[in-house]
Symmetry: C2
C-alpha cells in the first residue's frame, strides 16, 4: 500500500493506494469518528461492491443509498435522496458518509457531506481510474444546474481517500483509457519524466498491471495535490489542471454529455492544446508529435468527432466574443512538462488549430 | 456608527451598527470585490428598502430577487430561485450577494453564497432586531428539510454585516419584543451587568431609542461573537446560546411555526430554564424572579401557551427517552450571567418546572 498526504493545514488528509484496500476495516476505522456510516453509491457499482463493503463496516450502524448512474442524475433531486435517507435513519452530526463510485458519486456525496447538518465527515472510495486520479483530490464537490455544470457546490475535503486498485478490474476498457487521459495530462503540465515513464509503460498500464497502475495513480495524485495545495480555491495556478478541457467541453456539449467519455474529449482536446502550443512556437513539432503519440497509445481519440467542424468549436467556445474580450484563457504548454494559462495568442492560430482537428 | 470585529482568523469580518448605514455606499464598497451584486430580499422588506438600496449600489451591475416571506419558504425550491436569478444574469465567481431582510433571508442568502459556484462573497443587512443580534453573527446558514429545521446548510461567514438601526422603525412591536428576548438571553448567559443595564433601559429600548438600541445590539453581538470565536462549529460552549430554546422549540412545534414568534417562545422558554435552575439550587428564588421580571418587561410571555400541558412538552422534547439516555442536555444557569450545558438534573425537577409553566 502507498500513502500520500494532501497537505491543506487542518483540512489535510491521506490518500491510500493499493490492492484490496476496500476489505481493510482498520483503514476505514482510522477515519470514522462516530458509530453511524452512510454508504452512497449508484446502481452500477452497488451490485459489485456494496454488500462486501457493508460487511467490512459491520461494526457500525450502516445505511446505504443507491442512486441512478450517470451525470444526468447529478441534480438536486438525486442529492435530496441522500438527505432523505440520512434523516430517515436519524444520522446525526457525527455520522460519516462514504462515496463508493466514480466522479459523479464523489461530487454528490461530498456536497451532501458539506451540507448535511452544516457539515459531516466523508471518505472517498473512488472506483474508476478517472475519479481516482482526478476528483478524489482537490475538494471540489457539487451538482449541476439546468443552466450549467457544477454551478452549485462547495470546496470540502474528505477525511481520507481509499483507492482500491482491484476495483479497476471491473472497469470497461474505454473507461481505463479515459482515466489515462488525465494521467497523461499530469505529465504534460508538470512532469516530463513522468510522461516518459508513461510512454514506456503504456501497454502494462492498459492491461492494469497492479504495480504500474499504483505508481501512475500515486504520481498523478501527488501532482494534483501539489497544484491544489498551492491554490486550493482556484485563484490561479490550479487552472493548469484544465489542459485540453476547454476544447473537451466543447466536444462534450456538441456530442451530448455521455456519448464521448469526459476523458476521451480531454484526450482530443489535449492534442489541440499541443497543436496550438506548437503553432505559437512554444513547443517544437517533435514535442507536439510526442504528446499526440502517447495520447493515441492510451487508446484515446486524437481528432475531433466525425462531423464536428472548426465552426462548431468557435460557436461553443464563443471564440469571437471571448477572444476579443481577452476572456478565452487557454491552458497551453511552454514545454512538455510546463503549462501556462494565457489569453495571449493569435485568433488565426487558434482557428488553424481547430481546422487541423477536423476529420 | 459603532464597529465590532468578529475574530475568526482569515474569516474575520466587521459588524457596523448605526442609523442610516444602508445609505452609505462607501461602507458597501469596502466589502464588494467585483462589479456584480445580487440583492436577495422578501416581499415584506422589498417595498420598504429595495429601491433605495439599488440606488445606493448603482455603481454596480445590480440584480435583485424577491422571495416570498416566512419560514415556510426556507426551502430548496426558494433557494433555487436565487440560483436561477444569478445564472440568468450571468453572475460569476466574483459576485457579491446582499441579504436584505430578517433571519430567513439571511440564512438562505448565506447558504446560496456558500454554494453558488462553490462559494461567493456575501454581505448581511439584517432588518429585524432578532436577526441583528442573532443570525448576523455566527455563520450558520441553511434551509429546512421536511424532516427537520436547518438540516441542510453550511458554516459560512459574511464579508461584513451592516446593521441600520433605522430599519427597526418599520418593525411591528411584537417583533421588537421578540428581538429583546435574544438580547436578554445574552445578559442571562454571560453578562450580569448587561442584564442590569437592560432592566434600567427597557422602556427606552421598547421605544427604539437609537442610542440605547445601538448599545444593546453592540453588546449582544459582542457576546455572541466571543462565544462563537471560542467554538465556531458548535462543538461545546456555543450551545449556551440556546438558553430557553429547547423549551421554545417545543412551544413552536406545538403551536405551529409562525403562530408564536421565535423570540416569544424563547422568552417563555427562558423562564422555564430559570425555574429549573432555581429548583436545582443553582440560582436563588430572587435570581429566578429577576429574570422573569425583565422578560415580562420586554413584553414577552412568561408562561407556556394556553392549553399546552407539561405532557405536551414531555412528548415534544421526548423527555422520558432522552433524559434516561442522558441525551436531553439543557442550558441552565449556574448564576445570573453564567450558563452551563448539562444533562445532570433530576427528571422530577424538570416535570415540576414544566407544570409550573402551565396556564
Amino acid at each position: 500500500m502507498q500513502c500520500l498526504n494532501v497537505d491543506l493545514a487542518d483540512r489535510s488528509y491521506p490518500i491510500y493506494i493499493g490492492a484490496g484496500l476496500m476489505a481493510q476495516a482498520e483503514l476505514f476505522a482510522r477515519h470514522i469518528g462516530g458509530r453511524q456510516v452512510c454508504i452512497v453509491t449508484d446502481d452500477t457499482v452497488a451490485p459489485l461492491y456494496l454488500e462486501s463493503l457493508q460487511q467490512v463496516l459491520s461494526d457500525y450502524k450502516v445505511t446505504s443509498v443507491i442512486l441512478p448512474t450517470g451525470e444526468a442524475y447529478k441534480t438536486w433531486a438525486t442529492l435530496q435522496q441522500i438527505f432523505d435517507a440520512l434523516l430517515a435513519a436519524r444520522h446525526d452530526r457525527r455520522t460519516t458518509l462514504i462515496a463508493l463510485g466514480g466522479g459523479v458519486i464523489g461530487d454528490m456525496t461530498g456536497f451532501a457531506a458539506a451540507s448535511y447538518q452544516r457539515g459531516v465527515d466523508f471518505i472517498q472510495v473512488p472506483t474508476t481510474l478517472l475519479s481516482q486520479v482526478d476528483s478524489s483530490v482537490g475538494g471540489k464537490t457539487g451538482i449541476n444546474h439546468p443552466a450549467g455544470k457544477n454551478m452549485i457546490g462547495a470546496f470540502y475535503q474528505p477525511k481520507a481517500v481509499l483507492i482500491d486498485t482491484d476495483s479497476l478490474n471491473t472497469l470497461p476498457e474505454r473507461e481505463v483509457s479515459a482515466g489515462l487521459a488525465e494521467i497523461i495530462k499530469y505529465g504534460l503540465i508538470r512532469d516530463e519524466a513522468f510522461l516518459g515513464w508513461l510512454e514506456q509503460n503504456m501497454a502494462g498500464l492498459r492491461q492494469l498491471d497492479a504495480g504500474l497502475v499504483t505508481q501512475a495513480i500515486l504520481r498523478s495524485c501527488a501532482i494534483k495535490a501539489e497544484v491544489v495545495a498551492e491554490d486550493e480555491r482556484e485563484g490561479g495556478v490550479r487552472a493548469i489542471l484544465n489542459l485540453g478541457h476547454t476544447f473537451g467541453h466543447a466536444i462534450e456539449a456538441h456530442q451530448g454529455y455521455g456519448s464521448w467519455l469526459h476523458g476521451e474529449a480531454v484526450g482530443a482536446g489535449m492534442v489541440m492544446a499541443l497543436d496550438l502550443s506548437a503553432r505559437l512556437g512554444w513547443i517544437s513539432a517533435q514535442g507536439r508529435a510526442r504528446g499526440e503519440a502517447v495520447i493515441a497509445a492510451a487508446g484515446l481519440p486524437t481528432l475531433a468527432p466525425v462531423g464536428m467542424r472548426a465552426s462548431d468549436f468557435e460557436r461553443l467556445m464563443a471564440v469571437d466574443k471571448k477572444v476579443l474580450d481577452g476572456q478565452l484563457r487557454l491552458v497551453l504548454l511552454r514545454q512538455i512538462g510546463a503549462a501556462e494559462v494565457t489569453a495571449d495568442y493569435d485568433v488565426e492560430a487558434l482557428r488553424a488549430c481547430l481546422q487541423e482537428s477536423e476529420q
